[in-house]
Every structure is written in structure tokens, then in C-alpha cells.
Amino acid sequence: MSASGEDDLDARDYLCYTLLEELEAAQPGRSITRTQFLKLTCIADRRLKDEHDLDIELPRYWYQYGEILNEQPISNSTYTMTSGPWGGKKIQPSPGISKNSFFIPPEISQAIYSVVHGVVSEFANEDADKIKNHQYEKYAPSGFIRRFDEFRSFLNDQDQQNASLADFGRGSLQSPEDEAYELLDELLAEYPVDLYSEMHQLFLRWEDTTRLLIEEGDFDKAESLLEDFWETFSKVELRHRHGQNTPESQKVRWLNERDDEIANLGDRLTEIREDVLFDREPNGILQTVAETDLSEDAI
């Protein structure tokens, strides 16, 4: 059942508007963040499908921290975005827009209101992490994405100076380094090569580079590299493979950006690897498969 109509403001806009109205009422005195808005619209849309078998063709895609609304095809006349005091964006319903601005069949508007009300009851006043975790637990489109989030959380939790050796010394079963290697092994095993083929080579290089950085004790750099890797991964794979109702022109633009994104991350990985690898001694296997004496200063 499709609900998008010819009117300027359609069911998708109505969902956005209703969500903002309900959030404003449910969290008085607290700004609605852009993250809240972009994620909760997706959760509401998924519930609309699951609970009411209603497809309002909401454009959304999976990105760095979960699924988000694709704002480009959505009319922005229902909400206004301004800078919040915390440095991010806050969102409000646009002045002059009311329920009467929408011409939508009542059964659809009632279904939208019902799911939005439920979503707001569950997530108003909650921080972005809780919403993100809900999306990862319930809707992550591949086990690999969920596993990656676990590794990201693990790295975020590491304060190498204070936690690593101290915790280990207090009797933790595993050192943070060993835990990281184990999580990386799981990520490698879980990676769906056929699904994310464009990023497969870079994934392998990122994984080994992260391992190298951890071997060097540089958790901070591993964390910053992870953010860069996942941003590229999101642009190259996630928003393409796990998106819906993306306009053709936007898909073309995304495709055109792919090569540069891949090249930029490749350059960064090469730079880090060269820095770390240059001072390392060979482990010997290359010597066994090579036909010359690599230790000899030949020239």
C-alpha cells in the first residue's frame, strides 16, 4: 500500500511533522537534536511497515551510526533547523504548519500518529546512544555492521593511559590488546565479501593496519582511523546497499564520489603502514619464498 500523493506535503512530511510535534510535547524545555530527528523518523517508518503494512516511501539509508532519514528528497518546509547551544543542530516544526496543512487519508494519518506516539513515548529524553543501540540491535542489515559497532564501542572505551595495563593488572582475564585482536578476528570472519565487495580490499588493509597500531600501543590513532574507515565504508557501501527511495540523481552523485573516497582512505592507510612497517624487522617467511638473500645489502 503506497501513501505518497500528488500534494506538496505528503505522508512522509506528515510523519516528520508529527514526530517533531510529539517530541516537543514530550520533552519540554529540551531541544530536539538533528540525530534524534533523523533516527526516530526511520524507526517510526519501520514500525509503520511492520505494524500497519504501510509504505509511505520514506527515503532513508544506513550510515555511520545507524539508519538516518535521507533529507534531500524530503520537503524542508515542515521543519526548521538552527544551531543548538551544544554546537549541533536543533530542529523545530516550521511556524504556520499545522495538521491542516496535510491532505492525507485519515487511516494513514491515524497509523502515522499511532507509531510516532509509540516511538516518542519510548525514546523522548533519551540520549543518541540509546537510539543508536536500538537500531543496531533491531535493524542492523548485516551481522558485520553489528560486530563493527561492538569493536567501535570497545575502542571508544579504551583510555590506553589509564585503563589498559591497570585493568589487566587488576586481574582482567584478557589484556585490551588481546581483546582487540579477538574482536578483529571476529570482524574478519564475519565480513560478507560478496555484499561489500567494493570495500573488501580496503577493509583487509584497515584491519591489519589497526592491528599494527594496537601492537604499537597506539589506541588513539586506531580509533581515529576507525572513524575515517567507517565514514568511507558508509559512503561507499552502506548508503548504497542499505537505502531506500533514494532519488536517481543522488545515487549518481554518490557513485561519482566513490573512487575519490576509496583513493583517499587508501592513501591514509599507505601512509600509516609505511610509518609503522619501515622500522620492523622481517619475520622470515618472505625470505623462504623469495629467491634471493633479502638481508644482504646488495647495492
Binding site: 619501515f278 622481517p282 619464498v289 647495492i299
Partner: protein
């Protein structure tokens, strides 16, 4: 006055990358050489833009094999039967590193090995492919001078138009260098298709100041 040798990109790659099929001959050719060694910015550009990618691809191919091992249901301790299974069913023929990984399993791993040790050794191999190449390149750079061509040598370019433009430009740098030297100059390459075959070697020697061409390719 010492003789001079001008290195084509493939020779630099062959020397730096122990797994390249031309490595043995390039290494042998350059070892202990007392000539003045030269190359040019075009060869360096090709090395940085194309050859480094090939080194990374080889290293990544080994990491892809490591991933295949992790995805498979192997025991912690591997015996000859398991190694045979890896060679036949896990090591993919489409993997860029197939040949030398197969050789590694054949020559070095006929007995028992721990799975974790094997994976750790293969990771080390992937890293060494990059690090050994880096070190060898730095060593070669330290004894090689980059020659910049003066003039376009359009007449020679026209005479040798059957050679690919990028390769011909490198060859013209060698020619240009030779016109500034009193001693013999040899051009070393691993690219016989462009510089040796079908009468190209004699054509180059006839119209340029290059004195000899050394073909280091393994056919």
C-alpha cells in the same frame, strides 16, 4: 670514467619486490654494481602510481587468504592433511598470491603447525612484502640519480613511434643522458615487448645514443 646504467621502472620494481618474477635477475644484475645508476621522474611516477599499488595488492592478497582461513572451520592444530585441505580448498587460485602461498605450504609446512601460528606468520608475510619493498626502494634511491631530459627529441620520438608513449619517454631520458656522458650507457629493462622484440632493440640502438640494452625479463 665509470659506465652508466639507466633503470626502467620494471627493473626498480623487480629489485624491490622479492616476489616479482623478475626479482632474481634484477637483484643479481644490480648487486655489487659499481656503475653510476640513473632513472627519471617518469619511471619514479610510474613506480609510485602503478607499482606501489601492485605491492599493496600482493600484500592484501595474503591478508585475503588469512581471512579465508579465519572463515573456515580449521582445528587449532593442523597436520599434513589439513595443509593439503588448505592448498586444495581454501587457497583460491584467483588469489594474486596463489603461487607463492602454494609454494610456502608445499616447501615449508609439510609437518604440524598451530593455526594461530600459521595466521600470524602469514600476516607477517603480508607486512614484509610492503616493508622489504620500502627498504629496498630507499636503498636503491640512495644510489640512483634522477636524470631530467633537456629537449623533446622529437625526431627520435617519431622514429620509435611503435613504442608506447610512457615507455618511450623513459627511453628518451636514457638517450638524453647518454648524449651528456662520455662513457657507455646501458638501458636495463624487464619490458622486452617494448624495447627488445620485433626489431625494437636494434631500432633503439640505431637512432639513440644508448649503447646497449639489458633485458632482465623472465619469459
Amino acid at each position: 670514467m665509470s659506465e652508466s646504467t639507466f633503470l626502467d621502472t620494471g627493473v626498480i620494481f623487480g629489485y624491490c619486490v622479492p616476489l616479482d618474477k623478475h626479482h632474481f635477475r634484477c637483484d643479481e644484475y644490480l648487486s655489487g654494481r659499481s656503475d653510476d645508476l640513473y632513472t627519471c621522474s617518469e619511471a619514479e611516477k610510474e613506480y609510485q602510481n602503478v607499482m606501489k599499488k601492485r605491492i599493496e595488492d600482493l600484500s592484501t592478497a595474503v591478508l585475503a587468504h588469512v581471512q579465508s582461513l579465519l572463515k573456515s572451520d580449521l582445528d587449532d592444530s593442523l597436520g599434513p592433511m589439513d595443509i593439503d585441505h588448505i592448498k586444495k580448498h581454501i587457497l583460491s587460485r584467483g588469489n594474486d598470491a596463489y603461487q607463492f602461498l602454494y609454494r610456502y605450504y608445499d616447501d615449508e609446512l609439510s609437518n604440524f603447525v598451530q593455526r594461530d601460528q600459521l595466521i600470524s606468520d602469514l600476516r607477517g608475510l603480508a607486512r614484509d612484502i610492503e616493508s622489504v619493498s620500502l627498504k629496498r626502494k630507499q636503498r636503491l634511491d640512495s644510489v640512483t640519480e634522477e636524470w631530467e631530459m633537456n629537449g623533446s627529441h622529437q625526431d627520435i620520438r617519431s622514429s620509435l613511434s611503435m613504442i608506447h608513449q610512457e615507455d618511450l619517454t623513459i627511453c628518451l631520458h636514457a638517450h638524453d643522458l647518454s648524449t651528456h656522458k662520455d662513457s657507455p650507457l646501458e638501458f636495463a629493462t624487464t619490458n622486452p615487448q617494448d624495447f627488445i622484440d620485433d626489431g625494437r632493440e636494434s631500432a633503439i640502438l640505431e637512432v639513440t645514443a644508448i649503447d646497449s640494452i639489458q633485458n632482465l625479463a623472465i619469459r
